[in-house]
Protein backbone atom coordinates (compact mmCIF):
# COMPACT_ATOMS: atom_id res chain seq x y z
CA UNK A 1 0.00 0.00 0.00
CA UNK A 2 1.44 3.33 -1.09
CA UNK A 3 -0.76 6.38 -0.44
CA UNK A 4 -0.58 9.04 -3.14
CA UNK A 5 1.30 12.25 -2.41
CA UNK A 6 -0.34 14.11 -5.34
CA UNK A 7 -2.48 17.00 -4.06
CA UNK A 8 -4.81 16.65 -7.06
CA UNK A 9 -5.50 12.98 -6.26
CA UNK A 10 -6.19 13.93 -2.63
CA UNK A 11 -8.66 16.64 -3.60
CA UNK A 12 -10.41 14.29 -6.05
CA UNK A 13 -10.54 11.52 -3.40
CA UNK A 14 -11.96 13.83 -0.71
CA UNK A 15 -14.54 15.13 -3.18
CA UNK A 16 -15.48 11.55 -4.10
CA UNK A 17 -15.88 10.54 -0.45
CA UNK A 18 -17.89 13.71 0.27
CA UNK A 19 -20.35 12.79 -2.50
CA UNK A 20 -20.49 9.13 -1.39
CA UNK A 21 -21.36 10.31 2.15
CA UNK A 22 -24.89 10.88 0.81
CA UNK A 23 -25.38 7.10 0.90
CA UNK A 24 -25.49 7.37 4.68
CA UNK A 25 -27.83 10.34 4.69
CA UNK A 26 -27.90 13.98 3.58
CA UNK A 27 -25.21 15.79 5.57
CA UNK A 28 -23.30 19.12 5.53
CA UNK A 29 -20.22 17.58 3.87
CA UNK A 30 -22.32 16.31 0.95
CA UNK A 31 -24.18 19.61 0.61
CA UNK A 32 -20.89 21.51 0.53
CA UNK A 33 -19.52 19.17 -2.15
CA UNK A 34 -22.77 19.39 -4.10
CA UNK A 35 -22.73 23.20 -4.12
CA UNK A 36 -19.03 23.27 -4.98
CA UNK A 37 -19.71 20.94 -7.92
CA UNK A 38 -22.54 23.20 -9.13
CA UNK A 39 -20.29 26.25 -8.95
CA UNK A 40 -17.27 24.62 -10.59
CA UNK A 41 -19.44 23.08 -13.34
CA UNK A 42 -21.16 26.42 -14.02
CA UNK A 43 -17.76 28.10 -14.20
CA UNK A 44 -16.37 25.41 -16.50
CA UNK A 45 -19.30 25.50 -18.94
CA UNK A 46 -19.50 29.30 -18.79
CA UNK A 47 -15.90 29.51 -19.96
CA UNK A 48 -16.43 26.83 -22.63
CA UNK A 49 -19.61 28.35 -24.10
CA UNK A 50 -18.41 31.93 -23.83
CA UNK A 51 -15.13 30.96 -25.51
CA UNK A 52 -16.73 29.01 -28.35
CA UNK A 53 -19.59 31.48 -28.84
CA UNK A 54 -18.01 34.86 -28.27
CA UNK A 55 -14.32 34.34 -29.06
CA UNK A 56 -14.27 31.61 -31.74
CA UNK A 57 -17.53 32.47 -33.51
CA UNK A 58 -17.57 36.25 -33.03
CA UNK A 59 -14.25 37.89 -32.18
CA UNK A 60 -11.87 35.88 -34.42
CA UNK A 61 -14.08 35.93 -37.58
CA UNK A 62 -14.82 39.64 -37.02
CA UNK A 63 -11.25 40.81 -36.47
CA UNK A 64 -9.40 38.34 -38.71
CA UNK A 65 -12.05 37.53 -41.35
CA UNK A 66 -13.93 40.83 -41.44
CA UNK A 67 -17.35 39.13 -41.21
CA UNK A 68 -19.33 42.16 -40.02
CA UNK A 69 -22.67 40.33 -40.20
CA UNK A 70 -21.67 38.78 -36.90
CA UNK A 71 -22.20 42.18 -35.24
CA UNK A 72 -25.92 41.38 -35.52
CA UNK A 73 -25.19 38.24 -33.53
CA UNK A 74 -23.48 40.27 -30.83
CA UNK A 75 -26.42 42.69 -30.73
CA UNK A 76 -28.87 39.80 -30.48
CA UNK A 77 -26.73 38.26 -27.73
CA UNK A 78 -26.65 41.59 -25.88
CA UNK A 79 -30.45 41.82 -26.17
CA UNK A 80 -30.61 38.59 -24.16
CA UNK A 81 -29.57 40.60 -21.08
CA UNK A 82 -32.71 42.73 -21.41
CA UNK A 83 -34.43 39.79 -19.74
CA UNK A 84 -32.80 40.81 -16.47
CA UNK A 85 -35.02 43.90 -16.25
CA UNK A 86 -38.76 43.50 -15.79
CA UNK A 87 -39.58 46.49 -18.05
CA UNK A 88 -37.38 45.37 -20.97
CA UNK A 89 -37.97 41.64 -20.55
CA UNK A 90 -40.22 41.45 -23.64
CA UNK A 91 -37.42 42.61 -25.96
CA UNK A 92 -35.23 39.87 -24.56
CA UNK A 93 -37.55 37.47 -26.38
CA UNK A 94 -36.17 38.55 -29.77
CA UNK A 95 -32.92 36.53 -29.43
CA UNK A 96 -34.92 33.67 -27.92
CA UNK A 97 -37.22 33.71 -30.99
CA UNK A 98 -34.14 33.79 -33.24
CA UNK A 99 -32.59 30.80 -31.48
CA UNK A 100 -35.78 28.76 -31.30
CA UNK A 101 -36.87 29.52 -34.90
CA UNK A 102 -33.50 28.79 -36.51
CA UNK A 103 -33.42 25.54 -34.54
CA UNK A 104 -37.00 24.66 -35.53
CA UNK A 105 -36.44 25.43 -39.22
CA UNK A 106 -33.22 23.43 -39.32
CA UNK A 107 -34.86 20.59 -37.43
CA UNK A 108 -37.72 19.88 -39.86
CA UNK A 109 -35.72 18.52 -42.84
CA UNK A 110 -32.96 16.99 -40.71
CA UNK A 111 -35.36 15.17 -38.36
CA UNK A 112 -37.51 14.05 -41.28
CA UNK A 113 -34.41 12.49 -42.79
CA UNK A 114 -32.67 11.03 -39.72
CA UNK A 115 -35.54 10.13 -37.40
CA UNK A 116 -38.26 9.20 -39.88
CA UNK A 117 -37.09 8.30 -43.40
CA UNK A 118 -33.83 6.56 -42.47
CA UNK A 119 -35.58 4.67 -39.65
CA UNK A 120 -38.37 3.53 -41.98
CA UNK A 121 -35.74 2.55 -44.57
CA UNK A 122 -33.82 0.57 -41.95
CA UNK A 123 -37.02 -1.24 -40.93
CA UNK A 124 -38.29 -2.29 -44.37
CA UNK A 125 -35.49 -4.59 -45.54
CA UNK A 126 -35.50 -7.88 -47.36
CA UNK A 127 -34.79 -10.57 -44.76
CA UNK A 128 -33.89 -13.08 -47.47
CA UNK A 129 -31.43 -10.87 -49.32
CA UNK A 130 -28.26 -12.52 -50.63
CA UNK A 131 -25.63 -12.94 -47.93
CA UNK A 132 -28.14 -12.91 -45.06
CA UNK A 133 -27.86 -15.78 -42.60
CA UNK A 134 -30.91 -17.34 -40.93
CA UNK A 135 -30.12 -15.28 -37.83
CA UNK A 136 -30.03 -12.04 -39.86
CA UNK A 137 -33.39 -12.94 -41.45
CA UNK A 138 -34.98 -13.54 -38.04
CA UNK A 139 -33.56 -10.27 -36.66
CA UNK A 140 -34.87 -8.32 -39.69
CA UNK A 141 -38.36 -9.85 -39.30
CA UNK A 142 -38.37 -9.20 -35.52
CA UNK A 143 -37.42 -5.55 -36.08
CA UNK A 144 -40.09 -5.10 -38.77
CA UNK A 145 -42.85 -6.69 -36.68
CA UNK A 146 -41.69 -4.83 -33.55
CA UNK A 147 -41.70 -1.39 -35.21
CA UNK A 148 -45.15 -1.92 -36.76
CA UNK A 149 -46.62 -3.16 -33.46
CA UNK A 150 -45.00 -0.33 -31.47
CA UNK A 151 -46.38 2.26 -33.90
CA UNK A 152 -49.86 0.69 -33.65
CA UNK A 153 -49.56 0.88 -29.85
CA UNK A 154 -49.02 4.66 -30.13
CA UNK A 155 -51.87 5.07 -32.64
CA UNK A 156 -54.72 6.44 -30.57
CA UNK A 157 -57.14 7.31 -33.38
CA UNK A 158 -58.56 3.77 -33.59
CA UNK A 159 -60.51 1.84 -30.97
CA UNK A 160 -58.52 -0.88 -29.20
CA UNK A 161 -60.66 -3.74 -30.42
CA UNK A 162 -60.10 -6.78 -32.62
CA UNK A 163 -56.81 -6.92 -34.52
CA UNK A 164 -55.69 -3.46 -33.31
CA UNK A 165 -56.00 -4.62 -29.69
CA UNK A 166 -53.83 -7.68 -30.22
CA UNK A 167 -51.23 -5.89 -32.34
CA UNK A 168 -50.95 -3.03 -29.84
CA UNK A 169 -50.56 -5.60 -27.05
CA UNK A 170 -47.59 -7.11 -28.89
CA UNK A 171 -46.29 -3.54 -29.37
CA UNK A 172 -46.50 -2.98 -25.63
CA UNK A 173 -44.51 -6.17 -24.96
CA UNK A 174 -41.85 -4.96 -27.40
CA UNK A 175 -41.78 -1.61 -25.57
CA UNK A 176 -41.44 -3.33 -22.19
CA UNK A 177 -38.62 -5.51 -23.52
CA UNK A 178 -36.96 -2.37 -24.91
CA UNK A 179 -37.33 -0.57 -21.57
CA UNK A 180 -35.93 -3.62 -19.76
CA UNK A 181 -32.92 -3.68 -22.10
CA UNK A 182 -32.37 0.08 -21.71
CA UNK A 183 -32.69 -0.26 -17.95
CA UNK A 184 -30.17 -3.11 -17.82
CA UNK A 185 -27.78 -1.21 -20.05
CA UNK A 186 -28.08 1.97 -17.94
CA UNK A 187 -27.60 0.07 -14.68
CA UNK A 188 -24.46 -1.56 -16.01
CA UNK A 189 -23.18 1.85 -17.14
CA UNK A 190 -23.70 3.29 -13.65
CA UNK A 191 -22.09 0.25 -12.03
CA UNK A 192 -19.09 0.66 -14.35
CA UNK A 193 -18.81 4.27 -13.12
CA UNK A 194 -19.09 3.08 -9.52
CA UNK A 195 -16.35 0.48 -10.04
CA UNK A 196 -14.24 3.22 -11.63
CA UNK A 197 -14.65 5.44 -8.57
CA UNK A 198 -13.72 2.61 -6.19
CA UNK A 199 -10.73 1.74 -8.36
CA UNK A 200 -9.67 5.38 -8.17
CA UNK A 201 -9.97 5.45 -4.38
CA UNK A 202 -8.22 2.12 -3.82
CA UNK A 203 -5.58 2.15 -6.55
CA UNK A 204 -4.81 5.82 -7.34
CA UNK A 205 -5.36 7.28 -3.87
CA UNK A 206 -4.58 4.51 -1.36
CA UNK A 207 -2.19 2.64 -3.67
CA UNK A 208 -3.77 -0.74 -3.03
CA UNK A 209 -2.62 -3.14 -5.76
CA UNK A 210 -5.83 -4.41 -7.40
Amino acid sequence: MHISSDIGIWIAALGTIAIFSFLYRENPVFRFAEHLLVGVSAGYYLVQYAHSGLIKKFWYPLTAGGNYWLVFGALLGAMMFLKLNRKTRGWGNIPVAFYVATGAGYLIPSVMKSMVLLQVGGTIRNPFAAGNSAGDAITTIVIFVGVICTLVYFYFSARRTGVVKHVSRVGMLFLLAGFGATFGYTVMGRITLLIGRFQFLLRDWLGVGI
Binding site: Y44, Q119, R197
Partner: protein, 212 residues
Protein backbone atom coordinates in the same frame (compact mmCIF):
# COMPACT_ATOMS: atom_id res chain seq x y z
CA UNK B 1 -44.92 45.00 -30.03
CA UNK B 2 -41.87 42.98 -28.96
CA UNK B 3 -44.00 39.84 -29.02
CA UNK B 4 -45.19 40.50 -32.58
CA UNK B 5 -41.63 41.20 -33.70
CA UNK B 6 -40.47 37.93 -32.13
CA UNK B 7 -43.21 35.96 -33.91
CA UNK B 8 -42.36 37.59 -37.29
CA UNK B 9 -38.64 36.84 -36.80
CA UNK B 10 -39.51 33.24 -35.90
CA UNK B 11 -41.60 32.88 -39.07
CA UNK B 12 -39.06 34.39 -41.49
CA UNK B 13 -35.97 32.65 -40.05
CA UNK B 14 -37.72 29.35 -39.47
CA UNK B 15 -38.96 29.30 -43.06
CA UNK B 16 -35.51 30.23 -44.40
CA UNK B 17 -33.74 27.55 -42.36
CA UNK B 18 -36.25 25.00 -43.62
CA UNK B 19 -36.10 25.82 -47.34
CA UNK B 20 -32.31 26.35 -47.46
CA UNK B 21 -32.06 22.59 -47.15
CA UNK B 22 -33.45 22.31 -50.69
CA UNK B 23 -31.44 25.20 -52.26
CA UNK B 24 -27.75 24.24 -52.56
CA UNK B 25 -26.67 27.73 -53.76
CA UNK B 26 -23.44 29.25 -52.34
CA UNK B 27 -25.24 32.51 -51.37
CA UNK B 28 -27.92 30.63 -49.45
CA UNK B 29 -25.33 28.37 -47.83
CA UNK B 30 -23.34 31.47 -46.81
CA UNK B 31 -26.37 33.04 -45.09
CA UNK B 32 -27.16 29.68 -43.48
CA UNK B 33 -23.62 29.36 -42.07
CA UNK B 34 -23.68 32.95 -40.77
CA UNK B 35 -27.01 32.26 -39.04
CA UNK B 36 -25.52 29.14 -37.42
CA UNK B 37 -22.56 31.25 -36.18
CA UNK B 38 -24.94 33.88 -34.81
CA UNK B 39 -26.83 31.08 -33.09
CA UNK B 40 -23.61 30.08 -31.31
CA UNK B 41 -23.04 33.69 -30.23
CA UNK B 42 -26.59 33.92 -28.85
CA UNK B 43 -26.08 30.58 -27.06
CA UNK B 44 -22.88 31.92 -25.44
CA UNK B 45 -24.76 35.01 -24.22
CA UNK B 46 -27.67 32.83 -23.02
CA UNK B 47 -25.22 30.81 -20.96
CA UNK B 48 -23.77 33.98 -19.42
CA UNK B 49 -27.34 35.08 -18.62
CA UNK B 50 -28.01 31.72 -16.96
CA UNK B 51 -24.88 32.01 -14.84
CA UNK B 52 -25.82 35.59 -13.87
CA UNK B 53 -29.18 34.26 -12.74
CA UNK B 54 -27.37 31.56 -10.69
CA UNK B 55 -25.13 34.21 -9.11
CA UNK B 56 -28.18 36.37 -8.30
CA UNK B 57 -29.92 33.41 -6.66
CA UNK B 58 -26.96 32.40 -4.47
CA UNK B 59 -25.97 35.99 -3.65
CA UNK B 60 -29.57 36.56 -2.52
CA UNK B 61 -29.38 33.54 -0.21
CA UNK B 62 -26.14 34.83 1.32
CA UNK B 63 -27.44 38.41 1.66
CA UNK B 64 -30.68 37.30 3.33
CA UNK B 65 -28.67 35.02 5.66
CA UNK B 66 -30.89 32.08 4.85
CA UNK B 67 -30.30 28.67 6.43
CA UNK B 68 -27.49 26.94 4.55
CA UNK B 69 -26.43 30.21 2.98
CA UNK B 70 -22.77 29.33 3.38
CA UNK B 71 -23.24 26.47 0.92
CA UNK B 72 -24.06 29.16 -1.63
CA UNK B 73 -20.65 30.71 -0.85
CA UNK B 74 -19.08 27.39 -1.93
CA UNK B 75 -21.00 27.51 -5.22
CA UNK B 76 -19.99 31.13 -5.89
CA UNK B 77 -16.40 30.44 -4.87
CA UNK B 78 -16.17 27.46 -7.25
CA UNK B 79 -17.63 29.53 -10.08
CA UNK B 80 -15.34 32.50 -9.46
CA UNK B 81 -12.22 30.33 -9.16
CA UNK B 82 -12.91 28.62 -12.51
CA UNK B 83 -13.55 31.90 -14.34
CA UNK B 84 -10.50 33.66 -12.85
CA UNK B 85 -8.23 30.70 -13.61
CA UNK B 86 -9.45 30.58 -17.22
CA UNK B 87 -8.96 34.35 -17.64
CA UNK B 88 -5.48 34.41 -16.09
CA UNK B 89 -3.92 31.11 -17.23
CA UNK B 90 -6.06 30.15 -20.24
CA UNK B 91 -8.22 27.13 -20.88
CA UNK B 92 -5.92 24.63 -22.59
CA UNK B 93 -3.57 23.84 -19.72
CA UNK B 94 -2.86 25.14 -16.26
CA UNK B 95 -5.06 25.49 -13.17
CA UNK B 96 -8.36 25.66 -15.10
CA UNK B 97 -7.76 22.21 -16.64
CA UNK B 98 -6.34 20.98 -13.31
CA UNK B 99 -9.57 22.01 -11.54
CA UNK B 100 -11.61 20.21 -14.18
CA UNK B 101 -9.55 17.01 -13.89
CA UNK B 102 -9.32 16.94 -10.09
CA UNK B 103 -12.54 18.57 -8.89
CA UNK B 104 -15.29 18.60 -11.50
CA UNK B 105 -14.73 15.33 -13.39
CA UNK B 106 -14.30 13.03 -10.34
CA UNK B 107 -17.16 14.60 -8.39
CA UNK B 108 -19.49 14.48 -11.38
CA UNK B 109 -18.59 10.82 -12.07
CA UNK B 110 -19.25 10.01 -8.40
CA UNK B 111 -22.60 11.83 -8.52
CA UNK B 112 -23.67 9.69 -11.50
CA UNK B 113 -22.31 6.50 -9.93
CA UNK B 114 -24.54 7.17 -6.89
CA UNK B 115 -27.44 6.42 -9.21
CA UNK B 116 -26.36 2.75 -9.24
CA UNK B 117 -27.61 2.44 -5.65
CA UNK B 118 -30.87 4.28 -6.24
CA UNK B 119 -31.52 2.44 -9.49
CA UNK B 120 -31.05 -0.86 -7.59
CA UNK B 121 -33.71 0.08 -5.04
CA UNK B 122 -36.02 1.38 -7.79
CA UNK B 123 -35.49 -1.89 -9.68
CA UNK B 124 -36.57 -3.87 -6.65
CA UNK B 125 -39.90 -2.04 -6.64
CA UNK B 126 -40.40 -2.02 -10.41
CA UNK B 127 -39.30 -5.58 -11.14
CA UNK B 128 -41.42 -7.43 -8.59
CA UNK B 129 -43.11 -10.03 -10.77
CA UNK B 130 -46.85 -9.44 -10.68
CA UNK B 131 -47.91 -10.07 -14.26
CA UNK B 132 -46.61 -10.86 -17.74
CA UNK B 133 -45.56 -7.24 -18.42
CA UNK B 134 -43.36 -7.06 -15.31
CA UNK B 135 -41.95 -10.50 -16.13
CA UNK B 136 -40.88 -9.37 -19.62
CA UNK B 137 -39.25 -6.25 -18.14
CA UNK B 138 -37.48 -8.32 -15.47
CA UNK B 139 -36.31 -11.11 -17.79
CA UNK B 140 -34.92 -8.77 -20.45
CA UNK B 141 -33.30 -6.51 -17.83
CA UNK B 142 -31.61 -9.48 -16.10
CA UNK B 143 -30.38 -11.02 -19.39
CA UNK B 144 -28.91 -7.68 -20.53
CA UNK B 145 -27.27 -7.04 -17.14
CA UNK B 146 -25.79 -10.54 -16.87
CA UNK B 147 -24.74 -10.43 -20.51
CA UNK B 148 -22.57 -7.37 -19.86
CA UNK B 149 -20.41 -9.07 -17.21
CA UNK B 150 -17.94 -11.97 -17.34
CA UNK B 151 -20.50 -14.36 -15.84
CA UNK B 152 -22.70 -13.84 -18.91
CA UNK B 153 -19.91 -15.03 -21.20
CA UNK B 154 -19.29 -18.09 -19.02
CA UNK B 155 -22.97 -19.07 -18.95
CA UNK B 156 -23.24 -20.73 -22.33
CA UNK B 157 -24.87 -23.86 -23.71
CA UNK B 158 -24.29 -26.01 -26.78
CA UNK B 159 -27.55 -26.50 -28.64
CA UNK B 160 -27.35 -28.42 -31.91
CA UNK B 161 -23.74 -27.46 -32.48
CA UNK B 162 -24.51 -23.75 -31.85
CA UNK B 163 -23.19 -22.01 -28.74
CA UNK B 164 -25.85 -19.97 -26.97
CA UNK B 165 -24.54 -17.62 -24.28
CA UNK B 166 -26.14 -14.95 -22.13
CA UNK B 167 -23.72 -12.43 -23.61
CA UNK B 168 -24.91 -13.38 -27.11
CA UNK B 169 -28.56 -13.21 -26.02
CA UNK B 170 -27.93 -9.79 -24.49
CA UNK B 171 -26.36 -8.54 -27.73
CA UNK B 172 -29.24 -9.94 -29.80
CA UNK B 173 -31.85 -8.29 -27.56
CA UNK B 174 -30.02 -4.96 -27.76
CA UNK B 175 -29.78 -5.15 -31.56
CA UNK B 176 -33.24 -6.51 -32.39
CA UNK B 177 -36.04 -6.17 -29.83
CA UNK B 178 -34.54 -3.02 -28.33
CA UNK B 179 -33.97 -1.51 -31.79
CA UNK B 180 -37.59 -2.28 -32.78
CA UNK B 181 -39.02 -0.57 -29.68
CA UNK B 182 -36.62 2.38 -29.91
CA UNK B 183 -37.30 2.81 -33.62
CA UNK B 184 -41.07 2.88 -33.04
CA UNK B 185 -40.58 5.54 -30.36
CA UNK B 186 -38.07 7.44 -32.51
CA UNK B 187 -40.40 7.67 -35.51
CA UNK B 188 -43.18 8.97 -33.23
CA UNK B 189 -40.85 11.46 -31.52
CA UNK B 190 -39.53 12.63 -34.90
CA UNK B 191 -43.04 13.29 -36.24
CA UNK B 192 -43.87 15.08 -32.97
CA UNK B 193 -40.76 17.25 -33.25
CA UNK B 194 -41.62 18.20 -36.83
CA UNK B 195 -45.18 19.09 -35.81
CA UNK B 196 -43.92 21.23 -32.89
CA UNK B 197 -41.31 22.94 -35.10
CA UNK B 198 -44.03 23.79 -37.66
CA UNK B 199 -46.24 25.18 -34.89
CA UNK B 200 -43.34 27.40 -33.74
CA UNK B 201 -42.65 28.69 -37.25
CA UNK B 202 -46.27 29.55 -38.03
CA UNK B 203 -46.70 31.14 -34.60
CA UNK B 204 -49.16 28.72 -33.05
CA UNK B 205 -46.67 27.63 -30.41
CA UNK B 206 -45.61 30.67 -28.35
CA UNK B 207 -44.79 29.24 -24.93
CA UNK B 208 -41.08 29.90 -25.50
CA UNK B 209 -41.89 33.65 -25.38
CA UNK B 210 -43.14 33.45 -21.80
CA UNK B 211 -46.40 34.84 -20.47
CA UNK B 212 -45.96 38.61 -20.77
Amino acid sequence: MSRTAAIIIAFVLGLFMMIQFFIPHPAVTGIYNTLLDIKQIVLGCAFILGVLSLIRFHAGRIRQKQAGGWYSSAALLGLAVMVVMALVWGTEDGPYRWMFNNVQAPMQATMFSLLAFFVASAAYRAFRVRNLDASVLLAVGVVVMLGRVTLGTLLSWDIGGQTLSLAGASEWILHSVNVAAKRGILIGVGLGMIATALRIIIGLERTYLGRD
